[in-house]
């Protein structure tokens, strides 16, 4: 809203005092926000459902007017009946249209975290206590090109629709304002509601692709021995030995080594992992730009998680001890997102 307003202003707007309506616009926006408190469940009532005629509605009004004039001019009492029946049906249609949204309860299922660059899906549940089905309800993100997701809500039941938005930065994101709309049954009126969900979406940094290999592990304090891999490549793998559990097999590496025809299966070297700790360090990414560093760290976290090795994360002002597993991965990604 704000940005379009700025673009519309003349180029010299910066040097001039703000337009007199700028204050009014700001007040309008504040009043509007106050009317639409952020909430994760919203019941649509007469207070927050809006209705206005569409272009087709105006066309119908014109049609009714012409029909009426024709009835008067040709003195057709049946013409009057037709005109008034159509008008009556249209009036009932207004009520039905409004009732399609009125009384609906909206619930946002808590959104999953997403990586930057991917569309963040939002699951909206529509619950209806009405005795009849509500037809033709569209849900869309208000900003940008509205891509409507259409659904019917069964009587005394619920329907779930999925809409998506594309976050523009990492971190915690408020869910954008959603819009519900219906034109059922005649298309002559548009009934809509605006909803500002309170939930927030966590957006992880965009993982770097293609990502460089993981950094070398650091020797654990107290292990005594010098680092095993002077070349600085943390490998953490060794040839498969009979009796290794299947979950230790590194299938990707195995596929690669089989393709070159050298070895058979490759297993994770838990010994190695015990001797070395893998630290993903903010200062050891070899990059300068902070976002690029975060991107690389994210890619590494994902890579290490795929390998199933334990890894730790060092960020400015925060350090996460080496560990593995889904919870650890989440913790690391969250730290990267909010860094």
């Amino acid at each position: 809203m704000r940005s379009t307003f700025d673009q519309a202003a003349p180029p010299t707007a910066g040097t001039q005092p703000p337009a007199p309506w700028a204050g009014a616009k700001e007040r309008w926006r504040r009043w509007w926000s106050a009317r639409l408190p952020r909430t994760d469940t919203l019941e649509l009532t007469q207070r927050n459902v809006y209705i206005l005629p569409t272009a087709a509605g105006w066309m119908l009004a014109l049609t009714l007017f012409v029909l009426l004039v024709a009835s008067i001019n040709f003195q057709l009492n049946l013409g009057y009946l037709l005109t008034f029946l159509l008008a009556g049906s249209a009036m009932v249609g207004v009520h039905l249209c409004h009732a399609t949204l009125r009384g609906l309860t909206l619930r946002l299922l808590s959104p999953e975290p997403q990586f930057l660059g991917a569309a963040a899906p939002l699951q909206v549940q529509l619950n209806s206590g009405a005795r009849t089905t509500r037809y033709g309800i569209g849900v869309a993100v208000r900003a940008g090109a509205r891509e409507w997701a259409w659904t019917d809500v069964p009587a005394q039941g619920s329907a779930t629709v999925q809409v998506a938005f594309r976050p523009e930065r990492r971190g915690l994101h408020g869910v954008p304002t959603l819009m519900l709309e219906t034109r059922y049954p005649l298309g002559t009126f548009r009934v809509w509601a605006l909803w500002r969900p309170a939930a927030q979406v966590l957006v992880y940094p965009r993982p770097e692709t293609p990502a460089p290999q993981l950094p070398p592990g650091e020797p654990l304090a107290g292990a005594g021995q010098a680092p095993a891999h002077g070349m600085g490549e943390y490998d953490g793998a060794r040839a498969y030995r009979r009796g290794d559990p299947l979950r230790l097999v590194l299938w990707k590496k195995a596929a690669r080594s089989m393709a070159t025809g050298t070895h058979g299966l490759v297993s994770r070297d838990t010994q190695e992992a015990r001797r070395h700790a893998l630290w993903l360090d903010w200062n050891a990414t070899g990059l300068a730009a902070p976002e690029a560093r975060l991107s690389r760290l994210t890619a590494w976290v994902l890579q290490a998680d795929r390998l199933g090795v334990a890894y730790g994360l060092r960020l400015p002002g925060r350090q996460i001890a080496p560990d593995s597993g889904a919870a650890h991965r989440c913790r690391c990604l969250e730290a990267l997102a909010l860094c």
């Binding site: 057709l76 013409g79 008034f84 049906s89 249209a90 037809y135 659904t151 019917d152 298309g187």
Partner: protein
């Protein structure tokens, strides 16, 4: 593969398009008889083409094809109607546009255009017929259009059409009260501009001129010409012999055709007189309300003779001709109802012979020599010499009575040019117009001014609704003879030939067609007559209450509501009042709906209030079980009943049919003994 199965398997878009095409065809089909044949054929072809495209999933034609077709349609309309404005050309154009637009269904906007053109087409049907069957057909078509419209706004999946149909029906049903209200209260006004242009003579009825033989077709026509409700006690009609409904008066004769006076001739007569018809009446008037079927001509039928102008709807007025005939200011193109009053005892016309009488004794030269001879012979008769015109009339009637003349509907064609001679001397049979024509020729030949009056005579009572019904088969021609000192006197020579034709309301049964004979063989004629009476009563009700709901009726309604001198402003005010009332009701309903609570929750809320009064305020989120536990713990055994009730309330919430237990719980709540308020004792100092 059967058709139903194929339709059920069609993809949604194809199914919707086919349904819309069927509805469009329903809207257009009744118009086929009224638009040029090329338009019907083109519309049918376009719809069939579109249906084939939809069924086979082919792309729509290119825009240039549409443009060519449109130009073609407009050109053909121009050729057929010589214009593209005006009613008939407009109807043809709308039908063509509607058929063409179905080939251009690309976006939602196009679909909406089809719907709106469809509504215009529905209205166009009413130009040609406003009968009950037409109304029913158009109602079906309107529901079809609404169904298609609703279906177009159900974007998800492939909902069955029956669902959309139910919604459309519901909207129409709920919209009907609004329709009735607007129909009753919307002020009726005169046309804003222009006049209904209609082809004259398209329908049967009196034709304003009379060719010997043309009336036979009318006699065979059983359709209703007019209906009357008499203001007499019990709606009793006057004696049958006086039931003459006056229509066009025919004065000029060319030997074969009778014509009415031309406009300048009538004007000349009117100027020479103190009042147009010089009507002199006796006795009290007979008041009645007459509903005239449209006949596309300006004349109004009144019971002989109406002194005051019939009360026409606003914007029209009636004028009396010098021949005592009432004409409306414009042709009767729709069912027209008016009140009139007639005096059954009257005389009219000048009492002394005036120069204008010349035109009433004119005869075409050289025709009917034998009738002229008969006239000379009668004039020379000594017995008749002193009796004047009355004696001559009596003698002519006597001749009709006793001269072997017969009344028949099937006299054959009068081929010769001497039609009066043929009747008087050769065939000696005919029906009213032969008899009346020959009679007037004879009178004029004896220098007695005479003329022919056409109209309707008789009628029958419809036992279902009490209306006096006059049919086209009651069409009749009688004569008026001018007599010195009396003016114009009605003489019905047909009555002399066939007394049954006049007065006793007997009809010669018109020969039945093959179908009529076949039906008559299976169904008793009485039953058919009863069925016809019911149908005509329904139809008359439709005419009276729907087609003829005029400003007069509206104002009658306001008077019945107690307004002294209502005008159209009162109608608008009443409409505004009702709109306000509806708004208030709507507001009240909205408020009520906002407060509305689940009935179970309401019971719980009441219980919570009672407990609070007893000194145990509980937070609103507590379930009944916890409330019961709290009550037992804090209020002791006196709260046991209430606790039990709360537990039952909880059970009801999870019962298979929760609503069933609620009335019982409500009754129990009313009887429940609640613990006395404990706080009272401790709080009192």
């Amino acid at each position: 593969m059967n058709l139903a199965g194929r339709l059920a398997r069609l993809p949604r878009e194809a199914r919707d398009t086919l349904f819309l095409l069927a509805v469009v065809a329903c809207c257009i089909a009744p118009l086929a008889a009224h638009i040029p044949p090329w338009a019907s054929a083109m519309a049918a072809t376009l719809l069939a083409w579109r249906g084939w495209l939809a069924g086979s999933g082919r792309p729509l034609p290119a825009r240039w094809v549409m443009a060519v077709l449109l130009v073609l349609a407009v050109l053909l309309t121009l050729v057929s109607h010589r214009t593209i404005v005006g009613r008939d050309a407009g109807v043809t154009l709308i039908v063509m546009l509607l058929a063409l637009k179905t080939l251009e269904l690309r976006a939602r906007r196009d679909a909406m255009v089809v719907f709106f053109l469809g509504f215009f087409t529905l209205l166009a049907n009413f130009f040609f017929s406003q009968s009950l069957p037409t109304a029913a057909a158009m109602l079906v078509a309107l529901l079809g259009l609404l169904t298609a419209l609703v279906n177009a706004h159900m974007p998800v999946g492939r909902p069955p059409l029956a669902l959309a149909m139910r919604t459309a029906g519901r909207m129409a049903l709920l919209g009907a009260p609004i329709m009735v209200l607007l129909f009753v209260l919307f002020p009726r006004m005169a046309p804003l501009w222009g006049m209904p242009a209609d082809k004259p003579g398209a329908r049967s009825g009196l034709s304003g001129q009379m060719r010997i033989g043309s009336m036979a077709s009318l006699v065979l026509d059983d359709s209703v010409a007019l209906r009357v409700r008499f203001d007499t006690p019990g709606g009793e009609p006057p004696p049958p012999g006086l039931l003459y409904f006056r229509g066009p008066v025919l004065t000029a004769f060319d030997g074969r055709d009778w014509f009415a006076l031309s406009q300048p001739e009538a004007q000349a007569i009117a100027w020479a007189r103190p009042s147009p018809a010089q009507l002199r009446v006796q006795g009290p008037p007979l008041r009645y309300e007459l509903t005239l079927e449209p006949h596309q001509r300006p004349w109004l039928l009144t019971l002989d003779a109406a002194k005051a102008a019939p009360a026409l709807p606003p914007g029209q007025w009636a004028q009396m001709s010098p021949e005592l005939q009432w004409n409306a200011s414009r042709p009767v193109t729709g069912v027209l109802r008016y009140r009139a009053e007639s005096h059954l005892r009257f005389t009219h016309g000048p009492l002394r012979r005036t120069p204008e009488m010349r035109i009433y004794v004119q005869l075409p030269a050289g025709l009917n020599p034998r009738t002229l001879a008969l006239a000379r012979q009668m004039q020379a008769d000594r017995q008749l010499a002193g009796g004047g015109a009355q004696a001559l009339v009596d003698a002519a009637l006597q001749r009709l009575r006793s001269g072997g003349y017969h009344y028949t509907l099937d006299p054959g064609v009068y081929e010769g040019e001497h039609t009066a001679d043929e009747f008087w001397f050769d065939r000696k049979e005919g029906f009213c117009e032969h008899i009346a024509s020959a009679f007037v020729v004879l009178m004029r030949a004896m220098d007695v001014p005479a003329r022919i009056v056409t109209g309707y005579q008789g009628g029958e009572l419809n036992a279902i609704d009490g209306y006096w019904t006059v049919r086209q088969s009651d069409a009749h021609a009688w004569t008026e003879v001018w007599m010195e000192g009396r003016g114009w006197v009605r003489v019905d020579p047909t009555g002399a030939v066939s007394p049954g034709r006049i007065g006793q309301l007997q009809r010669l049964q018109a020969p039945r067609g093959v179908f009529g004979t076949a039906v008559g063989a299976v169904v008793s004629p009485m039953l058919l007559q009863d069925l016809r009476a019911v149908w005509e009563a329904v139809n008359n009700g439709w005419n009276q209450w729907v087609l003829n709901y005029t400003q007069g009726r509206q104002l009658d309604l306001l008077r019945a509501l107690g307004l002294q001198s209502p005008g159209w402003q009162d109608l608008v005010r009443l409409m505004g009042l009702l709109v306000c009332a509806a708004a208030v009701i709507g507001l009240g309903w909205a408020l009520w709906e906002r407060r509305r609570q689940d009935p179970w929750q309401r019971l719980l809320q009441q219980a919570r209030q009672r407990l609070a009064r007893a000194g145990l305020p509980l937070p609103p989120h507590l379930p009944p079980r916890s409330m019961a536990a709290q009550a037992r713990a804090r209020l002791g055994p006196s709260a046991e009943d209430a606790a039990q009730w709360l537990l039952r309330l909880e059970q009801a919430r999870y019962a298979p049919r929760p609503a069933a237990a609620l009335p019982r719980l409500r009754r129990e709540l009313a009887r429940l003994r609640w613990p006395a308020a404990q706080s009272r004792g401790t709080d009192t100092p």
